[in-house]
C-alpha cells in the first residue's frame, strides 16, 4: 500500500523551489494539488468516455420524462403526473449512483497525495490568525486543491485533450440533450 512512498524523491522537489521553508511548503502543496487535479480530470474523462452512451441514454430519458411530467401538471392530470414522476425518480436514482464512478476518478489522486504528505508533513502545524487553533497538512492541501481546481478550470479549455473533454462534458446537460432528441 505504499507505492507512493517511492515517489518521495520526485515529489519533494516540488517543495524545494525557493529555498525558503514556509513559501516552499505552500508552493509545493499547490503544485502537488494541481498535479492531482490534472490526473483526476484525465481519469474522469476516461470514465465519462467509457460510459458516455449510458449517461446520454439516462439523461435523455430523464429529460423526456421531465417534459411529460410538466405536461401532466399543466393538464392537471394527477395520476399521470405521479406515474411519470415515479419513472423519472427511478431513472434519476440510476443516473445519480452511476455517476459515482466519475467522482471517484476525479478525487483518487488527491488521497494518495495526502498519504504521501502525511509521511512527510504529518507533524507540521500552522497557527491560525484567530485563537489557539492550528491546522495541519490536510487543511493546507484542501485549500490548495480548491485553488488548483479553480486555476485548472480556467486553463482547461485551452489545453489539448482537455479542451475536448470540456466540450463533451458541457453537452451532458440533460435538458439540452432532451431538446436535441425532440427536435431531431
Amino acid at each position: 500500500m505504499d507505492w507512493w512512498i517511492s515517489l518521495d524523491g520526485l515529489l519533494i522537489h516540488l517543495y524545494r523551489l525557493t529555498g525558503l521553508p514556509v513559501p516552499d511548503y505552500f508552493i509545493g502543496t499547490f503544485l502537488l494539488a494541481l498535479i492531482t487535479a490534472i490526473i483526476g480530470d484525465f481519469t474522469t474523462s476516461l470514465v465519462y468516455r467509457a460510459n458516455r452512451g449510458y449517461y446520454r441514454k439516462l439523461n435523455s430519458r430523464l429529460g423526456h420524462l421531465h417534459e411529460m411530467s410538466m405536461v401532466a401538471l399543466h393538464l392537471k392530470e394527477k395520476t399521470s403526473y405521479k406515474a411519470v414522476n415515479r419513472e423519472a425518480n427511478d431513472t434519476f436514482g440510476l443516473l445519480f449512483f452511476s455517476m459515482f464512478g466519475m467522482s471517484a476518478a476525479y478525487l483518487w489522486p488527491a488521497f494518495f497525495a495526502l498519504a504521501w504528505m502525511q509521511t512527510r508533513f504529518g507533524e507540521v502545524r500552522f497557527p491560525l490568525l484567530v485563537g489557539d487553533w492550528t491546522v495541519g497538512f490536510f487543511f493546507t492541501f484542501l485549500v490548495s486543491y480548491l485553488l488548483a481546481r479553480v486555476v485548472f478550470a480556467q486553463t482547461k479549455p485551452y489545453l489539448p485533450y482537455f479542451k475536448h473533454v470540456v466540450d463533451d462534458l458541457n453537452r451532458e446537460d440533460h435538458h439540452k440533450i432532451a431538446l436535441e432528441e425532440r427536435t431531431s
Partner: protein, 394 residues
C-alpha cells in the same frame, strides 16, 4: 483414614491453586499499557497509549509489523483485495445503486478484518475500540460521500433547486450531520455499530425484497403503463423551458411556491426534521443518505423529479461533507488516505464495467441476488453485533 496431614496438604494445594489463578488473572487484567502514542496523533495515539501490551487478543504487540493506521499488529490490508472489493462496490453503484454503500461498509468491517480487530479491544481497551469504530464509520463516508460529489454538483449547477425546500432540508441535514458525530463520537462500541448496521441492511433488503414481489412488481408496472399511456395521449407539447421557482407564501408552518405555473407547498418544520433524521442515519452508519432523500421529498411535496434531484443532491453532498468534517474535528477518527485512494480507483473502474454487464443480467435477478446478500449480511451483523455470535457463517 482421614489424617491431619492429608487435610493440610489439601488446604495448601487449594491455596496454591488459588494464588496461581490470581496471578494469571491479575497479569491479564493489569497488562502494562503501551504508555506512549507510538507516533500516532490525536485520540488514536492517546487510545493506543492506554491499550495493554502483549501478543494476545485485544493487546498491542509492539514487535509486530505496523498495519492499519500504523498500529503494530493491526490488519495489513492487502491493496489488491481492497482494489478488487472496490471494483465490486463500483459495479454495484451502476447496476443497483444504493447497495454499493453497504458493500463498502462490509469491506471495511469484514473483508479487510478491521471489525474483528476492533472488537477485540472492547474489554481491554474500550477507548481504542471506539476510536477505531469512528474511523470505520468515517471510512464508509469518505467513500460514499465523495463519490456523490460530481452527481450532486451537476444538479446544483443545473439550478433545478427548490431553494425554500432546499434550505429547510439542508439545514436539517447539516444539523443531523454535525450532531451525530458530536453526540456519538467516541461512545459507540464496534459491536453496537455492527448491530445497527445490520438492522439498516435488513431494511434495505426489505425494500429490495418488496420490489421483487408480485405486488411490488405490479405497482411498478402500473406506474410504467400509466406513464407510457400518457406519453401517447399527449396532444399539446408543453413549453420545455423552466419557468423557475417563485415563492408565493412564507410561513413557519407552510411555504408555498410555484413551479411551471403549478402551486406546491410544504411544511418547513417537517422538511427540517426529515433532513435531521436522514442525515443522522447516514452519518451514524456511514451510508444511506442518497436513496432516502428522493422518496422522502417525493412523498413530502410531490415535486417533479428534476427539482427533487437538485434539492436532494444538495442535502446529500453537504451533509456528507459536514459529517466527515465533524468526525475529523470532534471524534479524532483517523484516516487511512491510501486505502481510500485505492478504493476510489476500484470504484471508478467498477463503474465502467457496470453499464456493460447490465444487458446480460435482468434487473429483477440482480435485485434478487442483492436481497439474498442483504438478508445474509443483515442477519450476520445484527446477531454478531447484539448477541456476540453470528447466526450465519461470516
Amino acid at each position: 483414614m482421614f489424617t491431619k496431614k492429608k487435610l493440610m496438604f489439601k488446604v495448601s494445594l487449594f491455596i496454591l491453586v488459588f494464588l496461581l489463578a490470581g496471578l494469571v488473572i491479575g497479569s491479564l487484567a493489569s497488562a502494562a499499557p503501551v504508555g506512549n502514542s507510538l507516533g500516532l496523533t490525536g485520540k488514536l495515539g492517546a487510545a493506543i497509549a492506554k491499550a495493554p501490551v502483549g501478543t494476545g487478543t485485544g493487546q498491542i504487540d509492539l514487535n509486530a509489523a505496523k498495519g492499519f493506521l500504523g498500529i503494530p499488529g493491526a490488519p495489513q490490508i492487502n491493496p489488491v483485495l481492497a482494489f478488487l472489493w472496490a471494483i465490486w462496490v463500483g459495479w454495484i453503484f451502476t447496476t443497483v445503486g444504493a447497495f454499493g454503500g453497504i458493500m463498502a461498509g462490509v469491506g471495511h468491517m469484514t473483508v479487510f478484518g478491521l471489525g474483528d480487530y476492533t472488537k477485540a479491544f472492547k474489554q481491554t481497551a474500550p477507548e481504542l475500540n471506539k476510536v477505531m469504530t469512528d474511523t470505520i464509520r468515517m471510512s464508509n463516508q469518505w467513500l460514499v460521500g465523495l463519490s456523490s460529489a460530481i452527481g450532486s454538483l451537476n444538479y446544483l449547477r443545473a439550478k433545478r433547486l427548490a431553494w425554500p425546500l432546499g434550505l429547510a432540508l439542508g439545514a436539517g441535514s447539516l444539523f443531523g450531520a454535525v450532531v451525530i458525530p458530536i453526540v456519538t463520537g467516541g461512545k459507540i462500541s464496534f459491536s453496537a455499530y455492527q448491530g445497527w448496521f445490520g438492522v439498516a441492511v435488513f431494511v434495505v433488503g426489505g425494500f429490495l425484497l418488496y420490489e421483487t414481489t408480485p405486488k411490488g412488481q405490479a405497482g411498478k408496472k402500473a406506474a410504467k403503463a400509466a406513464s407510457q399511456a400518457f406519453e401517447k395521449s399527449v396532444k399539446e407539447k408543453g413549453d420545455a423551458n423552466d419557468q423557475g421557482i417563485k415563492v408565493t407564501k412564507w410561513g413557519v408552518g407552510r411555504i408555498e411556491f410555484s413551479f411551471f405555473g403549478v402551486e406546491f407547498g410544504f411544511n418547513p418544520i417537517i422538511a427540517f426534521i426529515g433532513g435531521v433524521i436522514i442525515a443522522a442515519i447516514s452519518s451514524f452508519l456511514g451510508v444511506g443518505g442518497g436513496f432516502l432523500y428522493v422518496p422522502y421529498l417525493t412523498s413530502l411535496v410531490g415535486l417533479p423529479m428534476f427539482v427533487v434531484a437538485g434539492t436532494s443532491a444538495l442535502a446529500v453532498f453537504s451533509s456528507m461533507v459536514m459529517s466527515i468534517v465533524s468526525y475529523l474535528n470532534f471524534t479524532g477518527a483517523a484516516v487511512d488516505w491510501a486505502l481510500i485512494g485505492t478504493e476510489l480507483v476500484g470504484v471508478f473502474i467498477g463503474s465502467m464495467l457496470g453499464p456493460r454487464t447490465q444487458k446480460y443480467i435482468p434487473d429483477i435477478w440482480l435485485k434478487r441476488i442483492f436481497v439474498v446478500l442483504a438478508l445474509y449480511v443483515g442477519l450476520g451483523y445484527f446477531s454478531k453485533g447484539f448477541f456476540g455470535t453470528a447466526w450465519v457463517p461470516m
